[in-house]
Symmetry: C2
Subunit: 390 residues, 2 copies
């Protein structure tokens, strides 16, 4: 794929941060048990790889491939080298994971040697590295100071990613526009009774998203008809059960376009009793309330707390957080949750969901989820999510 100047800018941020932190080498890891979309954000390569980011300020370095002023270099160690050659858009060396017996610690040692990283230097590994694996690295890589910390490179990249750049916002706008087309199509087909089951709804999303150039759904679609909508996340995600029939049906889905995820939830209602009407009305009001509070400079926690307090006044409790950032992952920063220690404050460039919901084993469930973009002038509701009364 074509070279991306944006990705080089992203890498430069990390190199600057590393210089300030005195970290010589950073390893990121995307593998089956520990996914990390930071590698895609930095290189374009979609999955199953290690990414090493190294500073130039070591003896014997100077083999940068990013131009004469490059502050560092990077190596992508990919499980599938053919795929890496096709997708990598950043100025990185490529290597095969097999060359290191698929062992990160062997790759760390080899890269550290290649880039001439002096003994005693700080090498940072992902904060999600399991404790026993960390001990193994420390035991093997005795020449280096191995860092594994919450507020390290991964968290730093997470903070950059919480505020989308221009390229990302463009991609997300495209993803949202496809999502909104699908919402209209779903409503139309359900009203026309062309969609009668959970499977009909889920499959429409699978096919129509890909027809519009998406990689697919951003997560397993949750289509829960009246018998199953009591669950926050229906299990299984969808079945051949009726959808849009009498009661409350929840449809939670998103598309992935050039890696970027949308995430919306619609509730379809038919022939509700007064208690069900009340549930739906509370969710709609909570959604409006929360969105009206989304201003630049507002702590995200305050918004989530207001939604919780709103429900509490009707003796209801929402069993999940109010929302979450979206981007290359369907759940990322900022945190939109009423929890201790949530210090996220809304600012331009943030993209996140607002998704109040209530669930009852008898009445069923209702959730309404929008995707919001913070702009210089305030919150822009990107999505056409709605309660659809059949």
């Amino acid at each position: 794929m074509e070279y991306s100047a944006t990705m080089e800018i992203r890498l430069k941020k990390i190199w600057e941060w590393m210089a300030a932190e005195g970290v010589s080498l950073v390893m990121l890891e995307d593998c089956e048990s520990r996914r990390d979309s930071n590698i895609r954000w930095l290189t374009g390569h979609p999955s199953d790889a290690l990414l090493f980011i190294s500073l130039n300020n070591q003896e014997k370095a100077g083999q940068a491939v990013t131009g004469k002023n490059a502050p560092g270099q990077a190596v992508l160690v990919a499980w599938d080298l053919n795929l890496a050659k096709l997708y990598t858009r950043a100025p990185v060396f490529l290597a095969a994971y097999n060359d290191f017996d698929r062992q990160p610690k062997k790759a760390i040692a080899a890269v550290a040697q290649k880039f001439g990283i002096p003994p005693g230097s700080k090498i940072e590994i992902p904060s999600v590295t399991p404790y026993p694996v960390f001990l193994d690295y420390v035991g093997e890589l005795t020449d280096y100071d191995i860092l594994c910390r919450e507020n390290g490179a991964g968290a730093e990249i997470g903070k950059y990613r919480a505020v989308k750049d221009k390229e990302e916002i463009e991609i997300l706008r495209k993803a949202v526009s496809i999502t909104n087309e699908l919402i209209d199509l779903l409503e139309k087909n359900i009203r026309a009774e062309k969609i009668k089951t959970e499977a009909d709804a889920a499959l429409l999303i699978e096919v129509e998203s890909r027809k519009r150039g998406c990689e697919g759904a951003s997560f397993g679609t949750l289509a829960a008809g009246p018998q199953r909508s009591f669950a926050i996340h229906a299990f299984p995600g969808w079945t051949c059960a009726p959808f849009g029939s009498q009661g409350l049906s929840i449809l939670d889905f998103g598309v992935k376009y050039e890696g970027y995820c949308t995430d919306v939830t619609l509730t379809f209602t038919r022939g509700l009793n007064p208690r069900q009407e009340k549930l739906v009305s509370l969710v709609e009001k909570a959604s409006k309330l929360a969105i009206s509070m989304a201003h630049n400079g507002t702590p995200a926690k305050n918004i989530a707390a207001a939604a919780d307090a709103f429900f509490a006044r009707s003796k209801k409790q929402m069993p999940h957080g109010l929302g979450h950032g979206i981007g290359l992952q369907e759940h990322e920063y900022p945190v939109i949750r009423n929890s201790a220690g949530n210090e996220w404050v809304l600012e331009p460039g943030m993209v996140f969901t607002i998704e109040p919901g209530l669930y009852d084993p008898i009445l069923g469930g209702c959730r309404l989820e929008h995707d919001i973009l913070m702009t210089e002038t305030g919150a822009e509701v990107l999505t056409a999510s709605r309660i659809i009364r059949l």
Copy 2:
């Protein structure tokens, strides 16, 4: 759901192991960033929960719910209590994750207090716990000895699960029978040109698996037509591109039935050139060779090494392992790989894949993947996987 005696037997194994190891409390965690199907194996509850398993040999214990001779008790702390009530089949207490502010360390402290676990006792947390999280637990739970180790409770359960019990083999046979029906249906529809694209193939699997009572596909179907089959795992998994057209098309899929996964790969060929024919022929021969070596008592590594050596004689290299166990996860024990430290030996009750493959950026890729059950009398090939010449 109905109570399961099998699940109580499984819990009893853990209690016995805990008594022998002197571990007072074990916590398992299934969450978005760290999935653990051991909780489903032990309780039936499918996802998003903590499971605490405690021994009775502490002061003030004696609140067992598993009968008068029960060696311990267990608590399932579920994100979605409604779902937990529906799915839990084992003798466990239920609690809501929200009651502990969604913080495992708060849940650990509360459960330890409820069961009267004496100070100084060993409490085991998952081996995949990130190092910084481990430090946090140790800092907060100062009254206890917090264990986080590779060869702890999780690995022990993994070993039990590598050898399927009667109930599991019955479920897997049903899952395989549906998989084989789908293989026939796929061949028929591709020959009849009703399936012309990757999407057609993937969607058939989505729908027809659920029609037959499956929870869905066991993983995102990989349908890669001739333009994309060079990748080990095509990215994206499937698109609207042609499938079964001139060249090599790979279809890697599985179904999930009552939680249990199958995993097969077919290669469809059309109008191959001699180099492509050679590739296919090598993969077919490697598959036969590996299956013929699968005997009770044979080290799995030897089989994988033989396949690697077979390819090496033709100057080819397989860029992935030969196979893996299947069960509640699509990848689990035993390890069927030619790697240092792989000490798995085949024995009756093991169920695993054999999936040799070769990939070339020009010719395309070919993989043939079977699911194998070891019985008392040797290997039984469960699946009807094949190279399908169009």
